[in-house]
Symmetry: C3
């Protein structure tokens, strides 16, 4: 099933050059693998060299590249080609009927007191517990659990295996035995939030765990009780946030990063892959703490030295003292 | 729905001062956000400054703080305010009917040969396989799988998405091809164990994987085949234990920590967040191995140096030799 | 239920010595815990000392250990005892009827357009979406989701909670707001692939995510969109691969290792536990990047120094300059 370029610009804007509105597109593809039936895009100027040789039927480009693109063939000119490409994928999905139908799949288990908006889609084998609320146009893919009293906003997507509102991990220790602290809060999720497969967001201990509008969470993420994540923050797969930490808006947390509990992260903080955030961050910026990989033999040497690092510093200090005293001493 | 302070002390003990038994409590809240309808608690003396200004109807305090608390208003005096608070949350949940009803939800798939105690609760869309045993008062929340021949003790809680008794990861390599080692053991879980959402505990290869009484596991934890975890040990989210490792009793393993296979950890070992335990630990204590986070630019400098750390040590050695020889040389 | 040694060698080959074909075996056990009803194996010569004292009815050994084994009692001699042991566990499982019956469990939700081979087994509460293909003799254990248009080969095993074909994590940023890139690709999985509990493999953005024949993935693994994993590569629990990375054949990725996006890893690359792979690897070998664990007090000293590592190098440089100039200076 194909789409005409005219349909694309009618729906999404942009200037079509060098090709007729009836040109048919059978697929969307990256520049280097696009065939003559494909619509492609050039986002990163680094890949400009791929433009001239691309076989794509049409390439989405920024205004600055209009001439270079036209020299090759058809193009759509738009201020932000990557955003335009994103909207093309959405158009594509819509035209190909990939959306979920509204309604509750008969195999889902929805408590009678839960409120599921009629435009929401609750997929196969989902569980929606007592008092939970699912907003308009929100989609629970399949095998999603939304716990008691948790609320999901509008236009959210929850992928398979997501667990919202399991108990937070809270215990008091009495003579070596753990006494459960019942988790009396819930989870509140804003609008336009996407949550990846098998990700878990625990309910709060007393207050609620809060995920604000526009937050995007990848797969297998752990969000502990009473965490608060600000608007439009994105977290990549296998990252984790411990209890009661607040993350600002417009942050990006890379894959497998960990943020310990009871911290405050400002807006616009960017944390690198596998970094462990152990203290609050009050300034926007890019933060990293990744141990560098090496060939194993080389790593073994360095790791052994690393465990003596403090002593190395002491040895340097001693040398520095000697080198200050030394000349004087030899003058005696 | 509110609870009277008299109900609280009747159920849990402690001395009520400065308020009538009929005082009604509408919620439980932390000191700094408690309103005049809330019961609060002061556990950590660090937060004592919050006591004077808290609006709470009543504060749970230790005997040493009785006078300070009374100067503010009502209090319940008890030896361990945090344990008391935990029990209040349990009372709260009980009075508000938050417990799970016994019985097997009609959507669950329970093999006819499985033994589910009549007081146990098997929630929606759970799977209990052939020969599995679920003990008294144990609760499988929703979408939990308990594999063939696995046994869960009494008063356990298994949160949504938990998988008990999937195959351990065992293969022999024959000319580059992996030959499956069928996992013939099972999983045995003691009493009072809690297991967080989407956590996985694999069945043993020959013997069983064993989780002893009182162990608490958070979300998204991986417990490999033939692991043995001792009584009352607690592990936080995203931690992992590789095959055949034994962890003692009363240990705490922080979030995203990893313990490699075939190790022995003594009782009372405490492992910090994101630490990788690569050798056995025979002494109780606190163990850490976290690469410190920094601003990215600073990290890049340090990481580059780190890969040369062994050579730095060599250079220090060379300097030390020179500094021992040097004075002698200049005396010539 | 027991098995006769004659059955074992008839099915798997190997030479039986020192015991009759009718000798009955009630279990398979490691050397050190095997009783007189057990079949055991000696794979690693390191454990040869356990051979003499083992109570096992029969021990599987390599030809070089035939005499040592016979001096103790019965043995089966075979070129690769560990592979033979693996096949014994398979025989054991088969004889004890542990296989899954073909067919779709009535509680599973299989789209009418999905193609499930008649010899495949789709367990309880699985979801197989529109256009998905499940090959011959493949087993979906329970609560597995296979997304639209994804294809699983023959003889695969997908453990409980696996999610194949959730959306990859792709967004364009427009003025701080994330615009979803619909994930238009699928997931293609070869033959003889095993996938552990709660592991997630995302669908591709434009092309497909590809897992080749013989790949083995443990539990709680994240495979992002457009990743390509070569034949017979094995990845241990909690590891993760970010988008568009290609991993070669016959690699091993240890537990909790992370591989960032857009990299190329050659064949026969072995990555240690918790290592973060941040650049492409073109040569086979063993790569490591684990921060060493220490007692917490010692770690604190070293970690503090680590953040000054770059300055330490500067101080060494300064000392080296001084020590070159120094002797000359004192000669003046």
């Amino acid at each position: 099933m194909s789409v005409r370029l005219g349909q694309v610009v009618d729906a999404l804007g942009g200037e079509l050059h060098g090709a007729g509105r009836d040109t048919e597109i059978a697929r969307i593809a990256p520049l280097d693998s696009a065939g003559p039936d494909a619509l492609s895009f050039l986002n990163n100027p680094r890949y400009q060299s791929q433009l001239a040789t691309s076989q794509a039927a049409c390439v989405i480009v920024a205004p600055a590249l209009r001439e270079a693109a036209l020299a090759r063939g058809a193009c759509i000119v738009t201020p932000d080609p990557y955003v335009y490409f994103a909207r093309v994928t959405q158009l594509w999905a819509r035209l190909h009927g990939r959306g979920a139908a509204p309604g509750v799949h008969p195999s889902a288990v929805v408590h009678e007191s839960a409120q599921v908006h009629p435009t929401a889609s609750v997929g196969p084998l989902c569980v929606v517990e007592r008092g939970a609320v699912i907003g308009a146009h929100t989609r629970l893919a399949s095998r999603v659990t939304v716990g008691a009293d948790c609320a999901i906003g509008e236009r959210c997507i929850l992928h398979p295996g997501v667990v919202i509102g399991a108990d937070g991990f809270g215990f008091a220790n009495e003579g070596g035995v753990w006494i459960k602290i019942e988790q009396l809060g819930a989870v509140r999720i804003g609008d336009d939030v996407e949550i990846g497969a098998n990700t878990c967001i625990d309910r709060g201990a007393l207050g609620d765990t809060v995920i604000e509008d526009g937050v995007k969470l990848d797969n297998l993420i752990q969000i502990a009780h009473n965490v608060h994540i600000g608007k439009n923050t994105a977290m990549a797969g296998c990252s984790a946030v411990a209890g009661s930490t607040t993350i600002g808006a417009h942050c990006t947390i890379a894959g497998a990063a960990s943020i310990v509990g009871h911290l405050q992260l400002a807006d616009n903080v960017h944390v690198s892959t596998n970094t462990v955030v152990t203290h609050s961050i009050s300034r926007p910026g890019h933060y990293t703490g990744v141990f560098p990989m090496d060939e194993n033999a080389q790593w073994e040497k360095n790791a052994a030295t690393l465990r003596q690092l403090y002593r190395l510093r002491e040895r340097i200090k001693a040398l520095e003292r000697k080198n200050q005293d030394g000349p004087a001493a030899t003058q005696q």
